[in-house]
Symmetry: C2
Subunit: 301 residues, 2 copies
């Protein structure tokens, strides 16, 4: 999994601080997560091959996560896109986008599909043979979902040399990778674990923004390889976090710790802070493996 | 008049080529003309004191002139704006903005007034003691207006030394500046032109984008100090200009020449051209005083 941060700041876009958008590359997909104003510029700036994006996941309909969507959709049209585009987001997103396209007489010439969300329970949004994408209901001022991207367990690795030396029929290889015992040409059974090895464990990425401190989400993101959790405020502004239904860095770290994730990435910083290092320091009081999101930063998960 | 170009390129926003928005400072006002995606970032970048903007004029509802409006309106809210904001633009603009604010439960806490336009005749949009703003109906794929900003004639200049030496009552000064003859303390009449001088001629700025070649607009912008006229294409792509209802640099110059304006500013360049100088050269074959708009460039009119 490769995560590219296009923007990780809250509220208003500035020249050097872009609001939320990120791209997750996984198993041949390029998923766009949130789409603040200016996202299409950031996609070009960081050389993301954005024509490959076929699925866009919008957490909620605040401008700093959503106002760049209609522009990106329009640009795809101007660039002659033909591939379908799927948008997953809160109810109302379809009307907002289509109204603007209609006013400009700029309907797309490619398939544009909206998948509107209004459930407060986790929902499976996307599945293929290699991964699933599920909503993670969050707790914010308006209806908001995070998203959990989970690889499916890969097939077992086959020790081909050993299989050959044991005279295992090639036609069994597929089943053996799926866990079956092997049978040699002379009819002998060889236990699966003797000629296979464990595949790399499936990875998962959980995106949780925006949300107040919300331990309910722990169960869903437990064990995630990487958790991106918003941290709009530092601890000294805890009251503001509560009032605006955002989280502090410490709260993000508390979720990471409870969920026993591999790594925590912080982001969605309020513009009031000059330096971001304090976010990392405060979080590390509670959870060790913390990284700071920065515009343009790439994480290999 | 001081014109700041925030963006002057057509279609999709890029890191170094912003779509249309400009700020006109005149007689104490700061008018925003069009508001493409990223305009609020450009306002900050070029250090425009944008809290002073009270009137926004939107030519038409294509994304490259309009998609930054809702973000700017939201940012004004986040910055605690209290002053009223007036939006002038095509019918539908109100619904598009309010729907998005509603979805984000982000209604403004300042007065937001929409003045929706649908007339194909020039309309007076704004007037105070010093200037007027009028629509300039254009000819584009969707309903579009340019805008004409006209200073009112200033009062005549009074030669105060001469008035004193002639014993003119101070209480007449106001009327004299407005053109009345003077009366001395001993009852003698002095012709107005003997103690006044001509004020500087009123200036005017005409903004015409987007439009096909449209000589109808000449009558309205005749004699303007400065005309901004879109020139999306060069002459070799004249067929594209016709097809998309845009203008070439030569056509923009032809309008400037017919209207006998003082200066022509070109802009709204298609992204297909590497160098902009060709726009100026082609226009200058027809009209001498041509300038090229560039992002961040300031014109004193």
């Amino acid at each position: 999994m490769k995560l590219t941060i296009l923007g990780c700041h809250s509220a208003t876009p500035r020249w050097d601080a872009h609001p939320t958008a990120q791209v997750l590359e996984v198993k041949g997909h390029l998923f766009l997560i949130d789409c603040a104003e200016g996202t299409q510029v950031q996609l070009r700036r960081f050389k993301v091959k954005f024509a490959r994006i076929k699925h866009i996941f919008i957490s909620h309909l605040h401008g700093d996560h959503f106002f760049g969507l209609v522009g990106l959709i329009s640009t795809f049209r101007l660039l002659g896109r033909e591939a379908d585009l799927h948008i997953y987001g809160p109810k109302g997103i379809k009307e907002a986008v289509l109204l603007q396209l209609k006013l400009g007489k700029s309907y797309t010439n490619y398939g544009l599909y909206f998948h509107e969300l209004n459930s407060d329970q986790p929902q499976l949004l996307f599945e293929d043979d290699k991964l699933t994408v599920t909503t993670v209901p969050l707790n914010h001022r308006i209806y908001t979902n995070g998203f959990l991207f989970q690889e499916k367990p890969a097939e077992r690795g086959l020790d081909v040399d050993k299989a050959r030396s044991l005279n295992v029929e090639m036609s069994y290889y597929r089943k053996i990778k799926q866990g079956a015992d092997a049978t040699t040409k002379d009819g002998k059974t060889i236990p699966n674990e003797d000629i296979t090895f464990d595949p790399p464990p499936p990875k998962s990425y959980a995106y949780c923004s925006d949300t107040a401190y919300y331990p309910t989400l722990v169960a869903q993101v437990a064990g995630a390889t990487t958790l991106y959790h918003e941290s709009t405020f530092l601890d000294k502004d805890h009251d503001l976090a509560e009032k605006t239904m955002h989280s502090t860095a410490k709260e993000a770290a508390a979720i990471a710790k409870k969920a026993q994730v591999g790594q925590l990435i912080l982001g969605h910083y309020s513009g009031r802070y000059q330096h971001l290092q304090a976010f990392k320091m405060e979080a590390q009081e509670i959870f060790e493996n913390v990284e700071l999101a920065e515009d343009g930063k790439v994480f290999e998960i």
